[in-house]
Symmetry: D2
Subunit: 387 residues, 4 copies
């Protein structure tokens, strides 16, 4: 008999939407489901926002008191969909309350916060996950499988990018994502960490980094209201401007613990690139290329293909590939953002049920924070920085 | 106050999954929602399947009696997710019961059936929709908007394709999709009609067609059980084989009522093509190209761009495009199959609430059946056939 | 000892340039060359043009008398680079003079002309070739090889297109290409025949066609001077306009003698498409896709690849592929129009030296004319027309 | 009256072929030509090779004595197509002899050599060019024009790559390209410098670099004969192996003098990449992307396009673009390696005739050597190295 587990979701914005959709849909896709998530309580900063989120996202209850909520006996899972600045506080409290935790990325603003969070879940013995959902794109999971099977040999080089332009306009509003006290960092934490997660997943731990960091847009119009609407925001050219004290871009070199090398770049100023998460991995026996903007596809090259019929294969993921049985019955019906979140939800509840930590968990999230901090340090020092 | 409307869904297979996901998720995306769909009853052919679908898809009740269900007073909407052979019977009964109806495509096996269905909903005065979801891909809706605004001038030519390979293997099982008595036709009804729908939406009604039809795989292994798993099916090379009495492929010429011409092709034997729905439209002032396998993108060419900077623009749909406010906050986060179905669900309930027929409705569906039947006729006659 | 052969080239326009470049370059690429073409005489319509062509293209002599030239004893090869209306006359005279002939495509304006030309070369026993150069793109030759080796099984369907836009602007000048008395036909003869040639090469003879033909731009500004500059022409919106009496576009269905079917479309009104020659071939064991705009590549799908690593391979042609040893030492250094003409030149002289007709020769060219004429007939009759 | 200029070409291998083709073809394309190159003498290391090159490439004479040749009174231009180790010696001698010089890239093995060469041509007052041909791809020249016109605003970031795989197989022969004493460096000098040239051309001088360098294949089979056949070489797995003492790959960060930053990577171990020269440039008002493997195209994004019709434009270069009048009459007829060399040849002779140094000349080549040497230094030091 599949168990129902009650979820308390803290934060009802863009990420709240994605998670709520996944709670409702996951068992429809992965069936029998490891567990049935039940949308019990949603917490937001005002009564109005909380009630709106409750109605919209189909929760039983609304609350403005996250602390009381995470301590409720009828809550099994705490889902942290807030801005970064309250991840640590909530996660630590939820751990103390013995709840399983899924936390949006990046895990925290700083390594120090991330360490405290990791310690808290270790102490509490709960299941924990960081929501780096892009690695759950079936094509990325296929890359992992091919690498694990040795299909491209030993990895020599990993080239990763995450290029965006939703905030390339200097008159885009100063959301919390541009404020160090809330976000911790800029492109590094917000988007670069997704690619660090992929690098860790596919290649292994990063040992050292060397980075250039840039803030191209030093001030932005102060925004009324706390809602972060990303690219849907209206541009404002008049009015008061506030300081951007985080990075807009970093360009970096990587050395992995296993000897592989690579590069990693992320920017908020890459006009024409929307959610351009890419990696190209060269191995001794083949290569893999991925571009999230065309996420149904993985491009794979096998060096041992016959010389006259050798070329990158454009593989559309489907039933024959990771997570395929749970998704759609033929390739290219379409993997969207929803599907990545549904898979993530599945893997989290599966981890709870089998009692094994999923990946990436808070330990992985902490390691990613170490890489992020090394990138920031190197941006200042101009030198190689150990993770 | 947003109204909740009770849905009875008939059929709990692949399409049932997609629809149930949409009922649960639609208000999360489009908020305030036109209405809140409530998953009241799911009907399937056996108790076991019905109860499984109830648990999986989050319905209140399970039933094996579709007729009784569609007559229940507490049902507002009937959703037909069955194989084609029972579309007409159920839809006509649901219309008699005064229910709003969404019916999976193609509307029916024959023009005769479709006419009866259209008559029934006309008589009943209910809202009706046919689930040609692909036209609701934001990129396709953007194409519609650009055409309507005259951005590519008068349309000269429409080239459409729908190429698949999930059944190119002759040992793929003989699902209902290969049987005329259940499906009505093969590639024509199953996939070609989607592109006819797009052609009608973007260009206008088709007046005449001229087609070659082919059945490449004349027999297939008889399948145990009625479930249609499409590409997820296991191949079977031994055992009894049954006859395929529908088309695997058609290639055709089109004449539209407005004078535009074009071509339309669909196949189940296009190795390497998965869900390759494409169109290219040439107008007097520009062109549009779409490929569903890369559905976040629309390619648009404007002839009046300066000569040295003229080329197809690859536009990633997002907040600035149709349905964008309800979906994800930046382009290329990802439009999957889920998102197309969520949009469809939104438009259907909006139509109910405002009391105006959506498009494509049963009248559109009937027109598409007329095109399908003309294609079949032309495949036999070798001559131009009027729709 | 490699023999030097003297060439008389009739016509010094765009095609003259391409051929002259090939004569000079071919032995540099294919070495030892089958023969060394020597640029002996170039003929053009005026003294000035002929002398200009002589200097520009490196010929020993200039002439305005093609007839005297083709009868010169010191001429081995006659190269016809004129507009279509004088192909027949020149070729027949050159055949009478016992010269080997390479003639630009299409072979003639009509089947009748083409038959006379084919008869003349048969009678004369000379080597003859029609310059359908695109089939000599290494990627197309690779497609031929893969098909011949059975790598994609039996061919089911061929989809060909040739889309252009250099004359989509109604104010582009009325060059000879828009005049039936000079060109014979429009998009059919000028570009469609290239794809017919590829279809014949890759699939086999076309048996029947069914076509829609269109003339979208009924008049164009009369052009001063006979030079055809194609897309380089300046647009003129004032002044006198003359009638276009050929097709701008055709869309057609094909039946091949071997039972395969397909479609073929060509247009001069496809905004955004430049030299968009494409084909997609579906076989029982795989598929092939080619797009000349990305002509270094052939996309090939093998159905027997493992299910989880199956996808179109993007093969960049190079030393391992047809003509590779003569071209560049690594793939993607770059196949341009030049390279296709250099290969063509090689194959023509090789045919002369070994004494075997090359392909496509005048017999092939005649067959293509029969297809072109059937397309024209069907555009009028609206019925299937036998070739 | 167009002047004829006599060329002495030193070296008759792959590059000799490309240059000879250009000498023969350039006036056919660019007419009236700035000058008519006459293939006077070709020099190679043995009588046999020289005579073979003479016949193949259409030179009047063959020689094995480059020194005597460059001093001949009837020679106007010296063309250095040899391996890198004799560039300096020949160029300095040719400068002393007062000849105009085109030298294959990289200019030299070391900065010291390059300085001596630059000094020699300065002293002699001759015209000099380094054959970084890829920047002459029309699409790259279009990028330059758009940048110069301010169409993408101020440049923020340049990302360049040059990925190859022709020598990824460890059993590919030890050609001179893997030997420091002949080549100077590996991927840095052989391919990376092409992208440095593009970066200089498009962005401006590089000020500092930070690099990882790698030699993945430490030994290779000793090759018999001096001919370098690149990807056309047969692989040999037995026999004696010699040391590779140059880099196979570098990954680097760049700081430009004007404040822009970027990354630059080149490898010989990128399976599946053939001649993958790419750059992506982000500016304050737009972006540009180029991929030489699809060199007919430039992708350009303008931030001021309307929000609902904004996307990278895929521009196919043709008559409306740089060099377009000399090339082919419509876009996508095809830019190959030949065309890049024909353009280079044109620009070199034009520079001679007008008496102004072309770009890139030896001064540019020297600057590129300084970048190359900084990359090598940084690969060892692990620190930022000034150019």
């Amino acid at each position: 008999m599949t168990k129902t587990m009650n979820v308390a979701m803290i934060g009802g914005g863009f990420m709240g939407k994605a998670h709520a959709m996944a709670y409702a849909s996951m068992p429809m896709f992965f069936w029998p489901a490891p567990a049935i998530p039940h949308r019990k309580v949603v917490v937001d900063v005002s009564e109005e926002m909380a009630q709106d989120a409750q109605a919209r996202f189909g929760f039983d209850e609304a609350s403005t008191d996250w602390k009381a909520t995470v301590h409720r006996d009828d809550i099994d899972v705490v889902d942290i969909c807030t801005p970064n600045n309250v991840h640590a506080e909530i996660a630590i409290e939820a751990a103390k309350a013995g709840k399983h935790i899924i936390c949006e990325k990046p895990l925290a603003r700083t390594v120090e916060e991330a360490e405290a969070m990791a310690q808290a879940v270790r102490d509490a013995g709960v299941i924990h996950m960081v929501a780096y959902n892009y690695r759950r794109t079936p094509a990325v999971a296929l890359a992992k499988r091919l690498i694990s099977e040795g299909r491209i040999g030993d990895i020599l080089n990993f080239r990763g990018t995450y290029l965006q332009d939703w905030s390339a306009d200097p008159d885009g509003p100063l959301s919390w994502r541009f404020q160090k006290k809330v976000a911790g960092s800029g492109a590094i934490g917000d988007i670069g960490t997704h690619v660090v997660d992929m690098a860790h997943y596919l290649v292994g731990p990063v040992a050292e980094v060397n980075a250039i960091t840039k803030t191209y847009v030093p001030t932005r119009p102060v925004q009324s209201g706390g809602v972060d609407k990303l690219g849907a925001s209206e541009k404002t050219s008049g009015g008061q401007r506030g300081e951007v004290d985080v990075d807009d871009e970093f360009t970096s070199l990587l050395k992995f613990e296993n000897g592989a090398v690579g590069s990693l770049e992320a920017t908020r100023n890459g006009w024409g690139r929307n959610n351009f998460i890419t990696f190209e991995i060269h191995g001794t026996k083949g290569s893999i290329h991925f571009n999230y903007e065309r996420r149904d596809e993985l491009k794979v090259f096998f060096a041992d293909d016959p010389g006259d019929a050798r070329g990158f294969r454009t593989i559309y993921t489907g039933p024959a590939h990771p997570y395929g049985e749970g998704l759609w019955p033929i390739p290219a019906l379409g993997i969207g953002y929803s599907e990545t979140k549904i898979i993530e939800c599945h893997d989290f509840f599966k981890a709870i049920v089998i009692g094994e930590q999923p990946s990436p968990n808070f330990e992985d999230g902490l390691l990613i924070e170490r890489v992020a901090e090394a990138l920031i340090r190197s941006g200042t020092s101009g030198a190689w920085e150990a993770v």
